[in-house]
Symmetry: C2
Subunit: 254 residues, 2 copies
């Protein structure tokens, strides 16, 4: 199978990049094709702006959503965007590897999402999102390096539960374009990791790579099935029993 | 009072910038001093990297948290970071004005947080976070432009509740450094706003600016009071009655 790993740490010797390389090695050993987008090494442009559109009329009022929809058919986007889209479309699985900075992705990786997920790729102009779209049938997974300890991100931890903090990425940036999203690989206390800790982490990463195409995805609710048509809210019978907050958008396991 | 508005939309005539200007006008009419950081106009560098540190030793292994702590006392950060820190320290209130892109901030604004919130400013090296820190006593508020309709972001909407989507920003990026965080100003269906809609929005923004220093902040739980000391989890008696998810980190109104 084909795998794209997008990584976002500026230090060549960083833990993010070291565990990314462990993942690459295991995937290749298992016979997969792997491509890497090392955003810092590529000097990836983070800020989405008018230069991202190659056929923007200076006369029209600037609306990025409308501009993106008009550009979708001819893919009138800048070359660096097209190159990343082609990698993502080639890949059967997408892995985003990054340190958690301020409870989300580093800016450079957010800029990959902002710019690469144009109309026609990140979403279809008409039709359903969330479980449907261009990336349906593909898999996606986060590899997240977290400085803080696990308890700070537990159900009752002061930062909020890690799965909820990652929901805008997993559900909003990956399930929305259609990916089956796997449970995230999360490593805690990364600033105090010793050699033993790294070995254990590398083993976990290898295990996750070996099961990349068999692990059950998070059972997010498909928009076409579980939500009303006009208001895009949970159907009444589902809402009656679903838990509040983000958890309500995950189907309960039987 | 002093107010800093950080805005993040590339279109000079965009709704984000138009409503930012309405806010500025009202604040100045009310006698406040206002400074603006228009990140696209400033060509703000989004990607946090080694160049952000002016005294980084090439011999030490790169750890951004440790590098930031070592640089804090002498403020050995690049000039553009120092300039933004000085604005934020000068301001009694901080407003972040942005379009919601992929359920979070545009990359350029995330890069402002990633880079400007160094040790010594975004957090104290030792001591409490969340309701304590360098920004204690100051206020902060988001102005968020959302393309989708309100129901899509309701308690049962397919995207998740807007307050939960903004929690990593409000709680994680603003309350953490010590700000009193006000309820966000959120405008929906921004791509289909007509002149009447803009007038109503501008009136709402003026009202929010008039009450910027009197509106009650979101009653997030201070780390020093409501959490255990070592694990940073909700104290047992609080956890027993607090709702699950992000909502548990807000004190219930009596």
């Amino acid at each position: 199978m084909n795998v794209l790993i997008v990584s976002a740490h500026p230090g060549p010797a960083s833990l993010t990049n070291a565990l990314r390389d462990v993942a690459v090695e295991q995937l290749r050993a298992d016979g997969h094709e792997v491509r890497i987008s090392d955003l810092y090494a590529m000097n990836w442009k983070a800020a989405h702006d008018c230069d991202d559109f190659t056929a923007l009329s200076p006369d029209e009022p600037l609306s990025f959503p409308f501009a993106s929809m008009r550009a979708a058919d001819t893919r009138a986007f800048s070359d660096d965007i097209i190159a990343e889209q082609d990698k993502a479309l080639w890949a059967d699985a997408l892995i985003l590897a990054f340190p958690l900075w301020w409870f989300s992705m580093p800016a450079i990786l957010k800029g990959w999402i902002d710019r690469v997920w144009t109309a026609g790729v990140g979403y279809q102009i008409s039709g359903n999102r969330y479980g449907a779209g261009r990336m349906a049938g593909k898999r996606a997974m986060l590899m997240v390096m977290v400085g803080g300890g696990e308890s700070y991100f537990s159900d009752r931890g002061v930062n909020g539960p890690i799965d909820d903090l990652l929901f805008p990425i997993n559900h909003g940036c990956l399930y929305y374009p259609g990916y089956d999203v796997l449970p995230s690989y999360v490593l805690h206390k990364t600033d105090r990791l010793d050699e033993e800790g790294f070995k254990a982490a590398a083993q976990d990463v290898r295990d996750r790579m070996r099961t990349l195409f068999t692990t059950a995805p998070i059972p997010y609710r498909p928009q076409a099935e579980d939500y009303t048509e006009r208001k895009f809210e949970l159907k009444e019978d589902i809402a009656a029993t679903a838990p509040p907050g983000f958890a309500g958008h995950i189907r309960q396991q039987p």
